[in-house]
Symmetry: C2
Subunit: 444 residues, 2 copies
């Protein structure tokens, strides 16, 4: 590769890293939270610490340990107790907050025990307790706490059946929240009348509080009757575990309390703050790109859809830049974020980011001076050890020289081996954060 | 609908109409071509008319009649003879140029006769002849002229088999060009040594001259040997008509002349000019949007892909504008062009533009102040009498009030009946031009 190309690859990586730094949990939390002897300030709201005789820290998520570390750095000895559930291996050295490692994406017994501990700690709080809840991606699977009479296996089975029947994620979440003691506002109910501050690192497109970790600290807008309607809609009566059906029917009959609703007082003493999001990362990435001399377009942090179509769409913008100078003149940088889906047709290894970059490379044949980097901010793209990949207009030629049929690799969803052989996987290692993916297109 | 909404709908329509005007064949041709007593100027190149004793006009395409009218307006009595093949009903009153109506998208006998007349006229030209060739969308089907020994039916059958076997459009075109006397540079060979000016209204993403009307005036980069490789690749030997297989084998053996290649002198006296394209339309649409006070982003004229994914992508940008003011602050207008594809899953009626607008409407639930218009510049979207449709954040609510299940209409590919019932089809009637689709998103 020429020096010039190395520089462009380095530019793309520097832009990604700038985005990543903006959502590193430590700096992100310290940016929004500060403390003096008497006052804790969180995103502009002031809390008089003298009114609290206890401070609990709890939560769950892949970034949980580094979020907990940041809170310990801020509150230190003031913390009375804490428990946070994280994915196996996502650890930090903490003084006051206990870390519970647990299974993800499939919940396990450790997660269940962590969830019980989280719930118990929240329940033990009173009016003079301040609870700081830390949520990040994966939180939903990491604190599974089924309602009475429903087992963890019943819950998992229900989710599996609902995914298979074609229910929307919105419908699946409605049922899940009604089977959980923590999700859908359950944690806020358990914590009341304590003061509850929830700090959230968002891994959800659009930063919908209702969806991140299934919304333990926000009201649930759905009811048991809605759940019954969903079950009828997909004819699930004889398919889901009988314990689940029974619980929902009891709920619809008014024999089990509803999930917490917006007009209930559980939410009178709660503050929810997004400390890091895909947009935050894009904004910092844009600053870096501007600084490197690019004309930069921050397209959207909410890009979803089939990976190859989205790649084609991005390359259509790149080609327009090259041919006409619209929407930007060169040197141009187009940034987007969110999370795409991969249509599995082959048997290869890859992730949505690597597939995006390979699909983009196949659209580059007549574009000059283009570099594409796409990577997951958590450092792992699909079931691979790479965060993503990087390509430019020489990629297809280099692949041919190496005897690789680029289209075949894409058809086989085998982007990992393709980029591995070219030396163009992008590996960051675990980043301790997760705000979905960043895509960077440089033209000129 | 409130007055304010009517105004926004009217703004979107005015932006579309401005784009359309930029690619009306008459003004577009007159913009690039002018004549004095002695000189014809085409896109900056000057032709001394005294060196020509005859001027022929020929060509094919849906916009053929209005392109021919523009050329008659410019050259008038100087035209010696002309023949242009158009789709049934796409007529103009002409003095010198004969119009041949023919079948589209399925070629017919009239098209074959028109093609023969076009070819014969080109062959009759000599060094002192100026030929003006007019090409527009549909041109490929409208002048079918199979090589000796292959019938029109054989050619059609071959195309059908190739589409079914999963061959790419690039591969199908390679074969088609080798079965045609006109396509793939054939017309340039027939016209040589006359001077050949080709005016092109582009209906192809990226304005690839090789693809528009199958490139009658540009070199073909593929060979008979390439065709053989394609036939082997898809095991078509026993599937395609034997006349076709025989022709290609004869060609590969060197017994039939190759399609014209770039280094041959057929192309020493040719000028190819794109008189109108999707980008031209977008640029004028942008001017109009700017004038109406919008901050405008011309995203790309080359958007392809599955319609619903592309709609989601556009709405992700709209939502970002609403939430963060990126990539534009409000009032914002996002423009794009190109042509998407529809995944047929239902039995309804619609076109890619109407489906785009319905899919976009379903993504609007939490976006304020948004209007989406998508329409085909030829005035007909799929097999419907509408150019497209228009929607805003009230569309879903109005549909509910009218008892329509919006998602069901989308699932059934039934966007036409959906918008027909709401009164939100966008009908322009035939426009006599065709530069694919324009999409307009207004936010704020």
């Amino acid at each position: 590769m020429t020096d010039q190309l190395v520089n462009k690859f380095e530019n793309a990586k520097a832009i990604f890293q700038a985005g990543l730094q903006a959502v590193a949990p430590g700096p992100a939390i310290k940016n929004l939270c500060s403390v003096t002897d008497e006052t804790l300030t969180v995103d502009g709201l002031h809390y008089d610490l003298r009114q609290f005789d206890k401070i609990f820290v709890l939560g769950a998520g892949k970034a949980g340990a580094s979020m907990a570390k940041a809170i310990e750095d801020i509150l230190g000895e003031r913390i009375s107790a804490g428990i946070i559930t994280v994915k196996y291996g996502h650890l930090e050295e903490l003084q006051k907050i206990r870390i519970q490692e647990a299974g993800h994406p499939v919940p396990d017994q450790n997660g269940f025990e962590g969830a019980q501990a989280v719930y118990k700690l929240a329940k033990s709080a009173d009016e003079s307790t301040l609870i700081i809840c830390l949520l990040s991606g994966g939180g939903s699977a990491l604190i599974p706490l089924p309602v009475n009479g429903v087992t963890l296996e019943d819950k998992q089975e229900t989710t599996k059946i609902m995914l298979a029947c074609g229910a929307t994620i919105h419908e699946i979440n409605a049922i899940r929240k009604h089977l959980s003691a923590i999700k859908g506002g359950g944690l806020a109910r358990a914590a009341f009348p304590a003061t509850l501050i929830t700090l959230i690192l968002s891994d959800v497109v659009g930063d919908d509080l209702d969806s991140i970790a299934s919304g333990p600290s926000v009201p649930d807008s759905m009811t048991y009757n809605d759940c019954k309607t969903i079950i009828t809609k997909y004819s699930l009566e004889d398919k889901i575990p009988s314990s689940v059906l029974k619980h929902i029917e009891e709920g619809a009959a008014g024999n089990v309390p509803e999930t917490p609703k917006a007009d209930q007082n559980f939410f009178t003493k709660t503050q929810n703050v997004i400390v890091g999001s895909n947009f935050n990362a894009l904004l910092k990435a844009k600053e870096k790109a501007d600084e490197l001399g690019y004309n930069t377009l921050l397209l959207s942090s909410m890009i979803e859809g089939e990976t190859r179509d989205i790649a084609a769409n991005h390359m259509a913008i790149a080609r327009e830049i090259m041919l006409t100078g619209y929407p930007l003149s060169q040197p141009a940088c187009v940034l987007s974020g969110g999370e795409t889906t991969v249509r599995i047709q082959g048997t290869g290894k890859g992730g949505r980011n690597q597939e995006f970059v390979l699909a983009a490379a196949l659209k580059m044949s007549d574009i000059k001076d283009v570099v594409v980097l796409s990577a997951g901010t958590d450092g792992s793209d699909g079931p691979t050890d790479a965060a993503g990949a990087i390509a430019d207009e020489t990629t297809l030629q280099r692949a041919r020289s190496a005897g690789l049929d680029s289209q075949n690799y894409l058809d086989n969803n085998d982007s990992y081996h393709f980029f591995d052989k070219l030396g163009d996987l992008y590996k960051t290692g675990p980043t301790n954060t997760n705000v979905m993916d960043l895509r960077i297109i440089l033209v000129g």
